[in-house]
Subunit: 186 residues, 2 copies
DNA sequence: AAGATAAATTTCGAAGCTAAACAGTACACT
DNA sequence: AGTGTACTGTTTAGCTTCGAAATTTATCTT
């Protein structure tokens, strides 16, 4: 089960090899090869999330903020979305999204205004400051990512990208989309 | 920056290719190859976390519970640890760990007793029910993991495992251990 | 016009965390 | 022995964020 759910492993964390050995002791039918991949994936992602978290924190925004900024930028051009759309996208309730937008408006990352063409709706729009924060975060991230992959040749990279997308397709197919909010950082 | 921090992307999530294209539009100097790897890693991990979360939920335990169970099992043999040790390992304060242990004692996943050889300390010990829950979770996880990797040959698997551990070594070296609790699931 | 439907917000409460103060114990040093 | 110091774990108080349910406002249907 790799690292399976929970754990941050910051203190006296065992090495990957130690951990796999321990799992094998405690759980007989464990494929070490599979476990190695899964555990490495988990650990890698945790370290990446920590790094990203530091970067956004350095920019003075929370991970929650980041999620919203990203969704808005990905929506393209005028960078506008409705709260319920955002809520669905991020996997939380409209109520929670209202609260989150409140905070982000206060931080001047987004604006909120009624949609005059359909006054039931609300338009959340990225501010220039919000967009700037996103850009800064991207700049920091690319540095980190290039650093992370520095040992891999171009061929290694394409190979890795292909394998990962293959796995991704598999898991997305198995688990179409059914939402579940699990405190992800992705 | 891949998905960088936050996001769950459950609703009308763009495909990986769409997302990379969008990022390139919004952020000129982006290496698509790097982005593909990083985004795939992020998405893959999110899906895995969702899957693991469902499994533990099906067993009636929370992700918080899971973290503690895992640490205790990894500690080996008598499955005992002190609260502060656990707190360090999981990256939270001793106070938070006290609360968490309270809950887990109520759920009969662990026991708490004073260490009579050194009455300052407290011993948190896995119950048989706690161990059983861990085993069940492992069983569920191995099924999922084998399913995830079904398209990969044995050679693919060793290659992937090697590349991932290489990346992991890189990031662990760069970011030795400095703790940061970022709501990870690993 | 009257409901039905939908979007967003408000209110209330729960979960989980941290910081700070506190209590109990062990150990070192005189 | 006695005292100071350090450390462990718990308690308390407060904060942040989220969810559920009720509420408001606007639109659509018939």
């Amino acid at each position: 089960m790799g690292d399976t759910p929970g754990s941050t492993g910051i203190g006296g964390e065992p090495t990957l090899e130690e951990q796999i050995a321990a799992y094998q002791r405690e759980f007989q039918d464990l494929d070490p090869q599979v476990e190695k991949i899964v555990s490495a994936l988990s650990r890698l992602n945790r370290r990446m999330n920590v790094a990203y978290g530091r970067q956004t924190a350095a920019l003075g925004i929370s991970n929650a903020d980041w999620e919203v900024l990203k969704a808005l930028v990905l929506s393209g051009a005028p960078y506008r979305m409705g709260p319920s759309e955002l809520a669905k996208r991020l996997g939380l309730t409209p109520a929670a999204m209202t609260h989150r937008i409140d905070r982000m408006v206060a931080e001047d990352l987004v604006t909120r205004k009624r949609d005059e063409t359909n006054r039931v709706r609300v338009i959340v729009e990225l501010t220039t400051e919000g967009r700037e924060k996103w850009l800064e975060a991207m700049r920091l991230a690319t540095v980190f990512e290039e650093d992370l992959l520095q040992d891999l040749s171009a061929d290694d990279r394409t190979a890795l990208g292909d394998v990962l997308t293959r796995l991704l397709r598999r898991v997305e197919h198995a688990q179409p989309d059914a939402g579940g909010r699990l405190t992800d950082l992705d």
